[in-house]
Symmetry: C2
Subunit: 382 residues, 2 copies
């Protein structure tokens, strides 16, 4: 099987990551931060070390401001609901995933907050102007994805951050598709909170997400045992415990630590470069196929993460994905939990086929898929 659905979860995982998970079952098998025996303390130290690696990779505000969740969606819920209060206004981009859209619409639906969407185009100036138009006196937060999970657009984070800072607005980033793919430096980019999944670009296994922040998260949505301040009836206010109720997902965190080490030592820039070369090659081949729609005229790698969304005229994206699956190629078709993005690109009817590589993807894989797509793009019907 040629797996090109890495934007959903990277597959396979590096052997080193799987080994780290396995090592955790013996070396870090106790509940960290609960008991005082050696196994528990060793586990807590390993978890802390994972916080340090993540803080370093993302230029965070300190290891104590790195908390672990089940996935990026949980992290985003904690972030959004951790700062928005009754009467606040929030702005998001037109490329947001349901993990940002739905928590915001839940709060909106309850009459707590108001929200606006600014349209992201291929022109940065226009995008920023669209953003500025949405700012209100009560705008508390601007939240954007770093990379569109469907179309791969890289958002102009530096410029968006500048607007946020100028208007004294918090700036949060959904790193679901950006982490481990493009450099995300919190302090440098003025990001107040960054949420990332462990199991995509960071090469960890499924079951862990991370919320990194600068201390701005005031409210919690999960409270429980933290192993600290046992007699305090409310959630402790110190980080990282404040955002970590209950037992941590230790094996997944240990795997993630190794994934972060691999990504950090190889370099996000190098991963980007390699995957971009493959996707450029695919883009160029696809743009020669008459029936293929690619949703951009050229491959501008400054504004595009290495993934390709396309359709073939006359087919629903699910049909194309099904045809590839029958030929042992795994991609995602249909809708991608991102209704605004599909509206922005006009793919509400067909969805889109998404091809997303990882560092394990080869030129041979890409050529195999190109050959397959040539067949279907030529035929009248599969």
């Amino acid at each position: 099987m040629i797996y090109l659905d890495n934007a959903a979860t990277t597959y396979p995982k590096p052997t080193e990551v799987i080994n780290a998970v396995n090592k955790s079952f013996s070396l870090y098998g106790a509940n960290p931060g609960r008991s005082g025996h050696n196994l528990s303390i060793n586990t807590a130290m390993e978890i802390y070390s994972a916080r340090e690696k993540l803080n370093a990779l993302f230029d965070g505000y300190g290891s104590e401001f790195v908390s672990f969740t089940m996935n990026c969606t949980y992290a985003l819920n904690m972030a959004i609901k951790g700062v928005l209060k009754n009467g606040d206004h929030v702005i998001m981009s037109s490329l947001e995933h349901n993990s940002v859209l739905r928590p915001i619409y839940k709060m909106k639906n309850e009459g707590l907050i108001t929200s606006s969407v600014f349209t992201v185009t291929h022109d940065v100036e226009e995008t920023i102007s669209n953003l500025k138009n949405e700012i209100q006196d009560n705008t508390k937060l601007i939240i954007v994805t770093a990379v569109s999970n469907v179309f791969g657009d890289i958002l102009p984070l530096e410029q968006i951050s500048k607007v946020a800072k100028e208007n004294n607005i918090l700036f949060f980033v959904d790193g679901a598709q950006g982490a481990g793919v493009i450099p995300l430096k919190m302090q440098k980019l003025g990001i107040n909170c960054l949420c990332v999944p462990g199991h995509k670009g960071l090469l960890g296994v499924m079951g862990v997400g991370v919320i990194l922040h600068d201390g701005c998260i005031t409210e919690t949505i999960i409270e429980g045992g933290t192993g600290s301040e046992s007699f305090y009836f409310l959630q402790p206010q110190n980080f990282p415990e404040k955002l970590e109720g209950g037992t941590l997902n230790v094996p997944a965190i240990c795997g993630l630590k190794k994934g972060v080490e691999i990504v950090s030592s190889y370099g996000v820039e190098n991963i980007f470069k390699e995957e971009t070369a493959l996707m450029k090659m695919m883009f160029n081949e696809l743009s020669n196929m008459r029936k293929v729609v690619l949703y951009r005229n050229e491959y501008n790698e400054k504004m595009k993460a290495p993934l390709i969304a396309f359709n073939i005229k006359g087919y629903h994206s699910e049909e194309v994905a099904g045809f590839l699956n029958e030929n042992s190629v795994a991609v995602r078709g249909g809708y991608h939990c991102s209704p605004l993005a599909h509206k922005t690109y006009g793919t509400e009817d067909t969805g889109a086929v998404r091809i997303s590589p990882s560092r394990f993807t080869t030129k041979k894989d890409v050529n195999y898929v190109i050959n397959l797509l040539q067949k279907i793009a030529k035929n009248k019907k599969v």
Copy 2:
């Protein structure tokens, strides 16, 4: 090392569980419920099979009413905040963990709800009478732990459920310490919602909890991508997706499925019997040591899960746990995220040493610990 901190997390995990986790990295390595390719579909089927096993073990209301979370605390937050609304009253027992106490106090602190605590004693009639005294017209929910995480008390679930039903009140159970240790049959016991951790009595790895319910959960605290109803801006209302935003913790769920298979085929009653025999033996030996305080006069296995909480006069519980740790025995001392339980038993000053076995604990282990404790219980100071 002799590990007797299984109430924090069971250790070691069965080899079959670790193998199941490892198998998942190749066989179930895609994101379930997202894409339509074979690897994603196979993963989704494996996850569904885990729901079925859990539903069967706990006599649940159907596999669609089994949702996965990061841990039991997340599940309890979803349960409590999923039903309590402005103006509601909730009753909890005096043995609740911070995972129940803190979400309730958060809502109370915000002025949304009111709450009462009923005292659990060693007399069931008295306990039930205490419960009845707390019922108000606006009582929406009674929530209790199945087993005290500190002192091992088994709560009279059947009688509590009867009171709840008679008063048309929802009945939720925190199965953190009860799952896989005592039989918890939801339909038989009239439990509307049961929350359990995957990594304790169910022998899974850390990183997964489960919420099982009868459909009573109306509100969500986490919203996000579910791979379903992509164009619906609010969280889908169908279960299990409603309670599962974002990517599932697939490897931990695959391990949990195997853990549940092991527990189900061996029989919860048999596990209870074996562990109880060991703890009875320890209890009897400890009750012969003059300086040891055991917080009950006799070992009544009908009201006691197989774990022992004790103190040695003249020592703080942390000192005793530290002494055991130096002698390669892992137990938990101090406080156990359960302030009400410590108040109920009058251990606010010393905390308690907790010895908790698993199915891997042997008679030899127990004897080793008894010998060690004899030394410290005789000496003036360690």
